[in-house]
């Protein structure tokens, strides 16, 4: 289950700075697709590559994709 946080207006949204657009696996951890994660165990260079490859995307403070669609 992806971690949640409470926004200023009282909503509970997925915590995490990035949306997994497909399932992501790191070591023994599987990150479910279409949920937000911080990917703390992934190096910054790899995160950049994942964004470039269209496999993850940045989300805003409401947990929505920064580039439009939710």
């Amino acid at each position: 289950m992806s971690p949640k946080r409470r926004t200023d207006n009282g909503q509970f949204v997925d915590a995490g700075k990035y949306r997994a657009l497909v399932g992501i696996s790191v070591g023994d951890t599987d990150y479910e697709a279409d949920k937000n994660w911080d990917f703390k165990d992934v190096p910054a260079k790899t995160i950049k590559q994942l964004i470039k490859d269209g496999l993850i995307a940045e989300v805003d403070e409401n947990g929505d994709l920064k580039n439009g669609e939710n």
């Binding site: 070591g27 490859d53 269209g54």
Partner: protein, 242 residues
């Protein structure tokens, strides 16, 4: 792999391991029509590529034991199957060895009783789905491997990424219990993997071909994960970059 013998060649069709019943295979590969487009201005033939095809012929020994070749080759209620058969042929038994896969119709199942010989069988597989026979690698090891529970298999290194997507075929022999999810995953650094192809959840003997993706990163692996807690998934996976 250097020049190799055929001692590592293995055949898996529609979830059946046929290797104990088959002793020769021919036509592993494919052909394509070459069309004459010679114009008036040329003094020699000009050609372009036309339709591709694949036709594999298998010779074996009759075996009526449970789950063996007779069951595979008469899987349509004791008749030749009419459904598409997913065929995997590996050129070796180790992960990363060359392997091809295609979706076929079984054209024949002929049984030959000659004096002084074991009962011989001949089966043909002809390309059926218009997608061609694709050469790639085997992602499992053995090449048939047993995942006792959810497993991330070692990745196969292509040396570089590719940009035409990929196609994968799984042939699942058995699953002792539960439900398994099998995926082909890819990675640029062999540490963080992303899902590339996801197969329908598996509960027993089955096979499936899935294609997709655009960029396929350098490292590709097979992953079995838990849909509901499973034990002993026995399967082969082949993957080809397109």
């Amino acid at each position: 792999m250097a020049k190799t013998s055929g001692l590592g060649v293995r055949l898996y069709v529609a979830g059946y391991d046929l290797n104990t019943d088959v002793n020769a295979i021919s036509g592993i590969g494919s052909s394509q029509e070459l069309l004459d487009v010679t114009s008036l201005s040329k003094s020699a033939m000009e050609r372009i590529i036309g339709v591709g095809d694949a036709n594999v012929s298998v010779n074996g020994f009759f075996d009526n034991a449970a789950g063996r070749s007779h069951a595979a080759w008469t899987s349509n209620s004791n008749k030749i199957p009419t459904a598409n058969q997913n065929v995997i042929l590996t050129m070796g038994t180790s992960r990363g060895d060359a392997a091809c896969g295609f979706v076929a119709k079984q054209g024949t199942y002929n049984v030959d009783r000659s004096p002084g010989n074991a009962i011989a069988t001949t089966v043909s597989y002809d390309l059926a789905d218009g997608n061609g026979l694709n050469w790639g690698v085997v992602l499992t090891d053995g090449p048939e491997q047993t995942d006792s529970s959810a497993t991330n298999s070692t990745a196969v290194d292509n040396g570089a990424s590719s940009s035409g997507g990929g196609t994968g075929i799984i042939s699942v022999e058995s699953l002792a219990s539960g439900t398994a999810t099998i995926k082909v995953q890819h990675s640029s650094d062999n540490l963080t993997f992303a899902d590339l192809l996801t197969f329908t959840n598996v509960t027993g003997r089955t096979s499936e071909r899935v294609s997709g993706g655009t960029t396929v990163n350098r490292y590709v692996r097979i992953q079995s994960s838990t849909s509901s807690a499973f034990s002993n998934l026995v399967f082969v996976a082949q993957f080809a970059r397109l």
